[in-house]
Symmetry: C2
């Protein structure tokens, strides 16, 4: 099977580029005390996570949901669910996982602690918890400092739970294009995280895990004293948004489409629209075609302006460079693995989607 | 099972509202010569399509892809694939379907005709074709008039194909908010479509199918003399974008989420982000909460500004009203069917996604 046999639209990965990204990140962390906890949400693909962990320098995996953790459990024995679990069903699923592997969850409320404690106690397991801090993203998380210490103190006394420390995601800062500005914003956020860990220790609370960071900040956050692990995900496949930041990672992920129309000389249309490649971080670009301009993505079509003299014809294949990896991966069920133009494997994107009837039954 | 047992994020449908939408659309077309060909791409859910067809006034189903048509074949014996099929594999799949049911495909190129003809001849079937016209959307389609007649003439002479007429989608016009402006733009586009059908007839070409329209134009396009069927999809479940147009259809589709954080008084965060509810047509709104303002959607979170005095707490459930139904449906594998707060069924969104390994094997 070669690239021309793949039914389009389809996600494809340049395996050699992906392996280089994995190696570079692993080598970066090899000599540091801060380690990597790759974020599974970026790709939801067990085979990629397996390779990330096998490369070394990792504490475990990060997941966004308990559903992801259930899938990632096939490749990791140490999973951080870096979001709040607050309902009984999800806490029970987390507790069920904690029978087989080390499970850590983020908390930012007393209600969340109660539910996790109850589920852990019922299942006779221990769930590790990190107090989630708002380090400037203004999404979830309690305020650094006193408020965090108060929630940590509460957590430390609860049955079935083991407080491990703090986490905070500087999501407002990881994408800032200017390096100096990004560095300042990231250091400010991670400084609040590290200072709260110090306050935990001063209050006699455990703070051996101080978790934060992402692809855009891995080499900034990891250098802040006290940060113990970085939750980077996108680096492994990359997207054009992170591609602007000048990092040592290569674009390895593409959305393959077929030209279905060239009814006029100045544009062509491919069969990969925004149901195949999201545009929430801007339009994708066309791989290897500097003179092609993406005019727009509809549900099933990408409309591309091309020079009138271009030889592109109906049936040709073009590759889009996604602007945002996470939601684009989430649109597909399979990832075609390329060595040159040969398809050497097809990996299930096993954790994609919501509402799989089988998965909800396991709730 | 009630709404509070559904694992979030999840798609839910208010069944009674959906049934009213189906009945209203069916009644509109009952007394007209122009009929409805509901667009399956809006929901990808066979059980919804079955009910749309059972209500009457339909010529068959519209699909966007051959993969959708393969799934929709379980509920319809007459399917229009309203996009260009140009590669051998997809044309073969369309030909395989044509063994069991009437299959029509859109064409805008000689290459597309060649591939379809070859696949139909090999499979010893007939595939119906419509010449696709660019009626102002500037996506696919040949120019109305002479160019269309030339492609129609070519199609009429090809083995395995049966020319049926023309289609054109006024996608640039269906969403115009001002009714008078929308009406003018739609009539202009549909006028080009009807005039080309007349030119087909004058050239001795078949033109018994003249297909166009959408939810935003169903009552305008269907009144243009010569238009034989309307490809509306969104009307059955609706979204907030079409909801602005003042049509007689109710919002029946919602994305259910759980409040996972209320760390500060002035905002809450739910566990349904843009992996569960797209924002390509703008932010969703919160059902039944006029004082709630969606500040943003991240991958797994929607951040909502609420009054500081609001009683919303961690664990509560909120429903988002999606701004764009088609790509939102495409994010989920199942649709929970509600009568009041009771879940009476769970329908598979059987045609969602790309790259399903099983489906690619059938290619």
């Amino acid at each position: 099977m070669t690239i021309s046999d793949i039914p389009t639209p389809a996600l494809v990965v340049d395996l050699a580029a992906m392996e280089r990204n994995i190696r570079r990140m692993s080598e970066y962390f090899a000599s540091r005390s801060c380690k990597l906890r790759p974020h599974f949400k970026a790709h939801k693909t067990p085979e990629i996570a397996r390779r990330q962990l096998a490369a070394g320098s990792c504490t475990g995996l990060t997941c966004a949901t308990v559903g992801e953790a259930e899938v990632a459990a096939t490749v990791s024995r140490d999973i951080l669910i870096a979001n709040e679990l607050v309902d009984r069903s999800k806490c029970r699923r987390a507790a069920a996982l904690a029978r087989q592997l080390a499970v850590t969850a983020a908390v930012d409320s007393a209600e969340g602690l109660d539910q996790l404690s109850s589920a852990a106690t019922d299942a006779r397991v221990v769930i590790d918890v990190l107090v989630d801090l708002n380090v400037g993203q203004n999404r979830c998380g309690v305020a650094p400092g006193e408020e965090a210490v108060a929630l940590g103190t509460r957590a430390a006394g609860m049955r079935g739970l083991r407080l491990r420390g703090v986490m905070g995601y500087e999501g407002h800062a990881v994408g800032i294009h200017d390096r100096a500005e990004r560095e300042a914003a990231v250091k400010h956020s991670m400084g609040m995280l590290a200072a709260t860990a110090t306050a935990f220790a001063a209050a006699g609370l455990p703070a051996d895990v101080v978790s934060g960071g992402g692809t855009g900040s891995y080499d900034i956050s990891s250098a802040v004293p006290g940060i113990t692990e970085i939750q980077a995900g996108s680096y492994v496949l990359m997207d054009s948004d992170y591609g602007c930041l000048g990092m040592p990672f290569e674009q390895a992920l593409f959305v393959l489409g077929t030209v279905v129309s060239r009814a006029v000389a100045e544009r062509c249309v491919i069969d990969a629209g925004h149901k195949a490649c999201t545009k929430d971080h801007g339009q994708p670009s066309v791989k290897g075609m500097k003179d092609a301009i993406v005019l727009g993505l509809n549900d099933e079509h990408t409309i591309i302006a091309i020079p009138a003299a271009s030889s592109i014809k109906v049936g040709d294949r073009l590759s889009l460079v996604p602007s945002h990896i996470d939601p684009t991966m989430n649109l597909h069920d399979a990832l075609y693995v390329l060595e040159g133009d040969n398809v050497i494997d097809v990996w299930p994107i096993a954790a994609r989607g919501y509402g799989t009837i089988d998965r909800s039954r396991s709730a």
